[in-house]
């Protein structure tokens, strides 16, 4: 071969043969292009990026600490904001009103009334409750707050007078990561199981298939709940953070099955494909075939399945925490926050307790956009 070189000249017509520019791009790049053209998908990506930033900057963005209990403002409603200054003219600085507690003569309950005559300025970058950002930045500067003794509740307060805004941001840290961690675990488990099952077949495959079928024959939320109920109670040795981690494990225990099945089918198809046969004919090892030929081709599908599984995990966590079997105090999650809104009567009186639900819906929606966009981008039929 070495001395062969250029003894066959390139035929003239081939020199002019058109080769498309698209051909320079890898499948990944093509996927990225297709994805970037999809408006819904881009909404998903940008929206989620914004949400993650907001949630993780939570302690800075919210004026109050999420644990701070204000017994003076139990079930307090959201404070209003006005841009009309005390002088009655438009002002760039927003104002809120002083809150007065009044006894309702009919129901003999204390209600909170805004004193429209007394405006309180909202100040920016002020010092307030101390907090730690990302686990290591210690600070007490908040984006906005009002002067003490007044406190500012953008989204109202819960049954213990805690700031819903702060709690929603804090809960978001849990709710928006639990799906990611759960899916990551699920991918690892599902990839190993699915690849092994599809590549070696035989007994390995049979056993794996039976296990998956059995897991799939339980209804998900009740099974999650049963496993969560089997976790030990929160104590000094078993903290809420331990529980958070184990809940993600429980969520992924059920979540890996779908991925394993899909991957198995893919791997089995690739095993028969001509490009794998060609690699075998060149003497490629199993490891090379799996890691060079199969997984890179399956990777896009893994990503799609994972992206589509995240919403399910978020909804699963929400349901579990809502039932009191998921995230427990002192950690909060959106589902745990919604626990306060279990009764119709409470919801009717204090509708702001439902706001965490809106956060869930938006997040899940954005993840769905993202997942759908990815699936369309991977779809070989649309160029």
């Amino acid at each position: 071969m070495a001395e062969a070189e250029t003894s066959i000249p390139i035929p003239e017509e081939l020199v002019r043969e058109p080769v498309s520019e698209v051909g320079q791009m890898s499948q990944w790049k093509l996927m990225r292009l297709r994805f970037a053209r999809n408006r819904l998908a881009m909404t998903g990506v940008i929206g989620l990026a914004v949400m993650y930033v907001i949630v993780f900057l939570g302690p800075f963005l919210a004026p109050n600490d999420y644990m701070y209990q204000n017994t003076e403002y139990v079930f307090g409603q959201p404070n209003s904001i006005t841009f009309i200054g005390p002088d009655g003219r438009f002002s760039l600085r927003p104002y809120t009103y002083e809150i007065a507690t009044v006894l309702d003569e009919q129901s003999f309950k204390f209600v909170f009334v805004e004193n429209r005559d007394k405006k309180v300025p909202i100040r920016f970058f002020v010092r307030g409750d101390p907090y730690t950002l990302f686990g290591f930045i210690k600070s007490d500067v908040h984006l906005f707050d009002v002067d003490r003794p007044q406190r500012f509740y953008l989204l109202g307060a819960d049954e213990l007078g805690r700031d819903m805004f702060a709690r929603i941001l804090m809960g978001g840290q849990v709710s928006m990561t639990i799906g990611l961690v759960g899916v990551a675990l699920g991918i690892i488990l599902g990839s190993i199981m699915g690849t092994a099952s599809g590549y070696w077949g035989g007994l390995t495959d049979d056993v794996m298939q039976r296990i998956i079928e059995i897991i799939m024959s339980f209804p998900t939320v009740p099974l999650w709940a049963a496993l969560a109920a089997a976790l030990p109670p929160i104590s000094a040795t078993f903290t809420a953070l331990h529980r958070y981690f184990l809940i993600t494990v429980i969520l992924s225990l059920v979540g890996w099955t779908g991925l394993a099945r899909q991957l198995r089918a893919k791997v089995m198809a690739y095993r028969q494909s001509d490009f794998v046969q060609a690699a075998l004919a060149a003497g490629a090892s199993d490891v090379r075939i799996i890691f060079v030929h199969m997984l890179p081709n399956a990777a896009s599908h893994i990503i799609v399945v994972a992206a589509l599984a995240i919403p399910n995990m978020i909804l699963g966590e929400t349901a579990l925490s809502f039932l009191g079997l998921g995230i427990l105090p002192p950690l909060v999650s959106w589902g745990a926050l919604l626990r306060s809104a279990q009764q119709v009567a409470v919801v009717v009186q204090h509708p702001w307790l439902m706001i965490p639900g809106i956060a869930v819906i938006i997040t899940v929606l954005l993840f769905s956009f993202l997942g759908d966009g990815l699936r369309d981008a991977v779809d070989p039929y649309s160029i």
Binding site: E13, E17, P18
Partner: protein, 355 residues
């Protein structure tokens, strides 16, 4: 709509006349010009071959005549005329001209024509039968739709037509599902279904391409037999020049959405005029030729469907191209022999601008 021809004829030479047909597909990537001015006459009771490489527009031509062009394709220009024989009370028949391009593609008129006057069979006998219904159900469906008869009569007719299509045990086959039959038998069932209402034209879109050579021979024999017995016209779409030579009376050669040459089968094979036809015939190995001469390939590749080629679409691959002529204008169709037409500047100065 359906309007009587000026002078009511009683017999017809042509069943379908296609004039300057343009079909474009409007996709996200741009406009794909599937048909770019196709003119084709389909004589009654003859086998017309349409031959060309993949993507040349053979199938789209047939689908356009059936008015079944799939989304996002549209007929943008041209007309398709169907000549139907209608029986009058006094026993005489007259020929009625219907402009198919005017019809609503889902409307009642074209539906009464589809299946009854114009029938079609496809390449993949595996996928062209519905897996959920029995062979009998699917044949009877067409019969019940177009003919006045009871279910029982329809079933008898289905058994009858299956028998004519050379199906062994037609009485049991009507109760069989497609997956229980072999490829060859499925294609027989498709043929039976298409012919169940005695259409005047059968479009056969690569009906034997997916079949093995011995099965192909059986199906070709069958189609020839049925054509002789039932007298319908067949439009035989294929890329296999051998099949064309065996089956067809006249042949139309397509390249990139245009018919470049049309002739009776013998002149086409013995005196091909268009450079593409010549090159095509030279490039294939002939079985039984006893020569081991090198093949003469056509250079280059078929351009992608979105490309717009200035001038004659074949000129980039043509050995006879005339610079300044072939790459500027599209040649007009000229007659070079009896019923033998060619679109090439070797035979005419006359051209048209790119449409």
């Amino acid at each position: 709509m359906a309007n009587q021809a000026q002078s009511p004829a009683t017999t017809r030479d042509l069943v379908v006349r296609v004039r300057d047909l343009h079909v474009y597909f409007f996709t996200d990537l741009g406009v794909s010009r599937a048909l770019n001015g196709v003119s084709l006459d389909i004589p009654a009771g003859k086998v017309t071959g349409v031959v060309g490489e993949s993507g040349c527009g053979k199938s789209v031509t047939a689908l356009s005549i059936m008015r079944l062009v799939p989304h996002p394709g549209r007929i943008t220009k041209g007309e398709i005329l169907l000549y139907r024989e209608r029986e009058k009370q006094n026993g005489h028949s007259i020929v009625e001209e219907v402009n198919l391009t005017d019809l609503d593609p889902q409307g009642p008129v074209i539906r009464s024509i589809r299946g009854a006057e114009l029938a079609m069979i496809f390449q993949e006998p595996m996928t062209s039968l519905n897996p959920s219904y029995t062979i009998g159900d699917q044949i009877m469906e067409a019969i019940l739709l177009h003919q006045k008869c009871t279910r029982k009569e329809a079933e008898e007719r289905a058994v009858d037509i299956l028998a004519r299509a050379g199906m062994p045990n037609p009485k049991t086959v009507v109760r069989r599902y497609p997956h229980e039959l072999s490829g060859g038998m499925r294609q027989r069932a498709m043929i039976a279904m298409a012919l169940s209402c005695t259409p005047s034209v059968l479009f056969a879109d690569e009906p034997t391409t997916a079949l093995d050579v011995t099965t192909e021979a059986q199906i070709l024999d069958l189609m020839r037999e049925l054509q002789a017995a039932m007298g319908m016209a067949i439009v035989f779409i294929t890329h296999n020049l051998g099949v064309v030579a065996q089956m067809c009376d006249t042949v139309a050669v397509m390249y990139l959405g245009r018919i470049v040459e049309q002739a009776p089968v013998e002149p086409l094979f013995y005196e091909p005029q268009h450079p593409y036809t010549r090159a095509l015939l030279r490039s294939i190995p002939h079985v039984g030729s006893r020569t081991k001469a090198r093949l003469e390939p056509i250079r280059g590749v078929v351009p992608d469907p979105y490309a717009t080629i200035q001038g004659c679409p074949f000129h980039p691959r043509c050995d006879y191209r005339k610079p300044g002529v072939c790459d500027v204008r599209v040649p007009a169709t000229v007659e070079v022999g009896e019923s033998h037409t060619v679109r090439c500047f070797l035979y005419t100065e006359q051209g048209e601008d790119n449409g």
